[in-house]
């Protein structure tokens, strides 16, 4: 058959019926993410949260390059100083600059938060997608999720840190060892909410026509999940990600605060707060900065998560 279709009979006299013409939108089409951004921008708390969070991360990772003091530099002659121009947050009992330690601690805390969140997100999405997509795995995986939700998490995390600290320290060195341990401890104990949400969304998604269409042209399960399912459950995963960072930072700080986190010479925000409580009578101001850093980071991450949830929810969007 040739490509050139026969010309339709010319009917110049008859005007097309107005109702039969497809209405052409005047504005160019908008992508989904543009709508999301528009909604997100209107949420003041979320915008403020995003700005503060980015500022904190920049300060913590770029700040040390511009700051003359090393976090571990001991200057015993200038110990226990109050705030001054040289040391805006004072110095600790060994004369280490508190601002430098706060930034170094922030690097660890934020890295732990992000890495643990990624691990929890990976586990949660994996379990959620598998449980939602493969009917046979559903019962088993959801029982597993219920079981994990019934575990007393903080006590178990404390026990895990106690049990594996020395082994991992021996294998990877004291800093990397405890980093891996805490990230894994937080990751394997916080994937359950993500898994549940993702499973619910996948279950609903599986019944839609485009999945049937993709199936009918012979899409394999792997490609179906990667190409059609995952992009569509991205919004709950993104919300879980921001809330997960907040959760992971709090958990890490709590572990460090209980003395079962990072070693003393390796600052994190929780550890700094814990160390400062020993000098509560003499230098109460030392408690303030690490605590404020934790609170501000978590608060902004929570606001960001709230705003994202609203922006990504099509029922709220455009209202």
């Amino acid at each position: 058959m040739s490509d050139t279709s026969p010309k339709p009979e010319a009917t110049p006299d008859v005007a097309p019926i107005a109702a039969l013409i497809d209405p052409m939108p005047a504005a160019p089409p908008r992508s989904q993410w543009l709508d999301v951004w528009d909604q997100f921008r209107r949420h003041k708390g979320a915008m403020a949260g995003a700005v503060v969070l980015i500022l904190i991360i920049l300060l913590v990772f770029v700040g040390p390059w511009f700051w003359p003091y090393e976090a571990s530099h001991i200057d015993i002659r200038s110990r226990n100083q109050g705030p001054s121009w040289a040391h805006p947050m004072g110095t600790d009992q060994l004369g280490r600059d508190m601002l430098a330690r706060l930034m170094a601690g922030g690097q660890t805390s934020v890295s732990v938060g992000i890495t643990a969140m990624l691990l929890a997100l990976f586990l949660g999405s994996l379990v959620g997608v598998l449980a939602g997509y493969f009917r046979r795995l559903d019962g088993l995986l959801m029982r597993l999720t219920d079981l994990f939700l019934a575990l007393p998490l903080l006590p178990l995390m404390l026990v895990m840190v106690l049990l594996f600290r020395d082994k991992l320290n021996g294998a990877f060195g004291p800093e990397t060892g405890i980093f891996i341990l805490i990230v894994v401890a937080i990751g394997v104990t916080s994937w359950m909410p993500t898994a549940r949400i993702v499973r619910g969304d996948v279950l609903a998604l599986k019944e839609q026509e485009f999945v049937l269409a993709a199936r009918s042209i012979g899409t394999t399960n792997l490609r179906m999940i990667l190409r059609h399912v995952l992009p569509n459950v991205l919004s709950p995963i993104m919300v879980s990600a921001t809330l997960g960072i907040a959760n992971a930072i709090i958990t890490e700080s709590a572990l460090s605060f209980l003395g079962l986190g990072f070693p003393p010479d390796f600052p994190t925000w929780g550890r700094l707060l814990f160390d400062a409580t020993d000098y509560l009578q003499q230098h109460p101001e030392r408690v303030f900065w690490p605590g404020l850093a934790i609170s501000l980071t978590v608060l902004s991450a929570n606001y960001l998560g709230d705003g994202l949830r609203d922006a990504l929810d099509p029922r709220i969007r455009g209202r």
């Binding site: 708390g45 219920d146 079981l147 939700l149 019934a150 575990l151 007393p152 998490l153 903080l154 006590p155 178990l156 404390l158 026990v159 895990m160 106690l162 049990l163 594996f164 020395d166 082994k167 907040a246 709090i250 700080s253 709590a254 605060f257 209980l258 003395g259 079962l260 929780g270 707060l273 400062a276 409580t277 509560l280 009578q281 109460p284 408690v287 303030f288 605590g291 934790i294 609170s295 978590v298 608060l299 929570n302 606001y303 709230d306």
Partner: protein, 335 residues
Amino acid sequence: MLTFTIRRLVIAIPTLLFISLAIFLLLELAPGDPMAQVPLTVPPEVKAKMREALGLGEPVYIRFFKWIIQFFWVEPQVLIDNLLGTGFADGKLRILSWQTRSPVMDIVAQRLPQTLTVVGLSYVLGVLLAMPIGIYSAYRQYSFFDQIGTFISMVGYSVPTFFTGVLLIVIFSVTLGWFPSIYDTMHQVNDWDSLVIQIKQMIMPVSVLALYNAAQISRFMRASMLDNLNQDYVRTARAKGLSEKVVVLIHVLRNSMIPVVTVIALGVPQVFGGAIITEQVFKVNGLGHLLIGAIEANDLPMVQTLTFIFAVLIVLFNLIADVLYSLLDPRIRYE
């Protein structure tokens, strides 16, 4: 309804068994040796005997089975004995702590009241505080009160208890000297003055936990009220000419309480877990403090039992939440 409750109870048993097995196996990997404190001059034979006395000589599954028997069979008998003065548990071996060589459950029973007074009171206060805030915030959505309330609850939810606790200590103990920073468990209340002291030492730990709980619950309360305020039945109630008070406080509130009650029930075990940190901040001599001490001293029977008690609390309150949900909402009937 009854069948549902019974079925859930039956499902809870394997869950609990599995959790106890998981905790047991995790602790099995513990590197610490309970004999580490014994002097080196003690000959190895004697050490082996001492190990056996601690119940360490036998294979894992026998020890697990023994622990299960002790926890689920012997300890309840001890409880009945103490309550009724009977002698069921005479001569039976109980779970012994390696630190003190005394039964774990006796120590738990000593520590439980401290945790319950502080945690329980703070939870009740938190709920009482959260409900009016949540209701009013939702009723006047986007008003000044709502903006402030939402912001404070977000802050209360984000700021960790170990920071609020330490901050309160700095302000009220170190600077102002109003309240003691350490909770005195031995303090006995027998007259007015000692009651005042007791209240003073309870104010800070209770308010820290209450603030955190109130922040979480008021967010749920507000969201739940908002969901209901736009429903058709509210318009109907108003159209009937009912007063605004009746509409909001009876019609809307009752329906909004359904999810909130389950959240409150589900939050109870979490509060026990979170209290570990608050107890550590204020040196409250409760269950959390006991757990941290046991972990640091490598007292495995104590850690095992305490962790399992926390697990039992979680499973129990999950069950309570499910049952409450179906009781409160007649549309939901699990059969």
